[in-house]
């Protein structure tokens, strides 16, 4: 199976285990979309770039405040929450969850997916 197929398998599996997710995307740490599954027609290239920016800034904040290497960061709005997980040095996994979603379950599943993505990349 090709790398891309494996990546799609990983994010499709994540979306299947948490059906309320509005989207999931894997991007390179320099902001290029690699695999995506976005429900509301968002531009994956734009989302990928924003995910890389947020993660890049988060990494720097984490280092500056002696919090160690960044594992994840999030953006919360009134309608949805976006979680961004570092997937090794080269990638980022971003997911969009509606407000009120089961965050515990999301973290459990998405952290596993991020690990899988890191090993694929």
């Amino acid at each position: 199976m090709s790398k891309q197929e494996t990546l799609y398998q990983a994010i499709n599996q994540l979306r299947a285990s948490i059906p309320e997710l509005r989207g999931a995307i894997v991007a390179s740490s320099d902001g290029l979309a690699i695999a995506h599954s976005l429900s509301n027609g968002e531009d994956p290239n734009r989302v990928a770039a924003m995910a890389a920016t947020a993660l890049g800034l988060g990494k720097r904040i984490s280092e500056s405040l002696n919090a160690g290497s960044l594992t994840e960061t999030s953006v919360s709005g009134t309608n949805a929450q976006i979680y961004l997980y570092a997937a090794g040095q080269k990638g980022v996994l971003a997911i969009v969850a509606p407000a009120g979603a089961n965050i515990g379950l999301i973290h459990m599943e998405a952290r596993e997916t991020a690990k899988a993505v890191a090993s694929i990349l």
């Binding site: 320099d30 770039a49 890389a52 920016t53 947020a54 890049g56 800034l57 990494k59 720097r60 040095q89």
Partner: protein, 206 residues
């Protein structure tokens, strides 16, 4: 003169820091420029580049550095170069009082991209700017006069520099500050005549 500016200690007392933005295409020397000028540790966001862009790392969020020039504290914000990060150009240019647009003098193929970035920013914010032609240490490189002609700008608005050398970067900054000073004078003059003042477009309009 104390070279280190402490924004907390000088809050409400000294001159307000001047926000300047450094923009331009990938590999123009924006990160080098901020690093060569900053008197404080630069906040950078370098990530491994996965595309072939002629270097290993690329900026994904911003570079931030500070310095004091003639008693004037300056906050320098460097942008990412790739189009996909254009939202950061908007974010970083909000409230900017001056812009340095850098372009690599040995890569004329990127001049049109530099012009697009310049138009993107200046169409959203009315800001005085200079164009800096970098990599002047290389043998085959465009001069500032030629680049001024390409951009259709007065030669006084285009300078040559080597962004990795601080003396060269400082000279560029001084040049911009002269323009900013002249611009602010003309703005206060023009603002008394509503008919002449250029409308300032707000951000957030796509």
């Amino acid at each position: 003169m104390n070279p280190l500016y402490d924004p907390i200690a000088s809050f409400g007392t000294g001159p307000k820091p001047l926000k300047l933005v450094v923009a331009g295409p990938v590999g123009a020397g924006k990160t080098s420029f901020v690093r060569s000028l900053s008197e404080t540790e630069v906040v950078g966001t370098d990530e491994l580049a996965t595309e072939d862009i002629g270097k290993t790392f690329t900026t994904v969020a911003m570079d931030f550095g500070t310095l004091v020039l003639d008693g004037q504290p300056i906050f320098l914000f460097g942008t990412p170069g790739q189009d996909r990060f254009d939202f950061m150009w908007e974010v970083l240019c909000e409230g900017a009082l001056g812009l340095v647009l850098l372009v690599a003098g040995d890569k004329p193929s990127e001049f049109s991209q530099a012009r697009r970035i310049l138009e993107f920013i200046t169409s959203r914010i009315s800001v005085p700017f200079i164009v800096g032609v970098t990599r002047q240490d290389l043998p085959k490189v465009w001069s500032s006069e030629d680049v001024a002609e390409y951009f259709g700008l007065p030669t006084a608005q285009v300078v040559s520099l080597n962004a990795t050398r601080s003396t060269s970067s400082i000279f560029t900054l001084i040049h911009l500050l002269e323009l900013v000073g002249a611009y602010q004078l003309s703005e206060s003059f023009v603002s008394s005549d509503a008919g002449l003042a250029e409308p300032q477009n707000g951000f957030g309009q796509q």
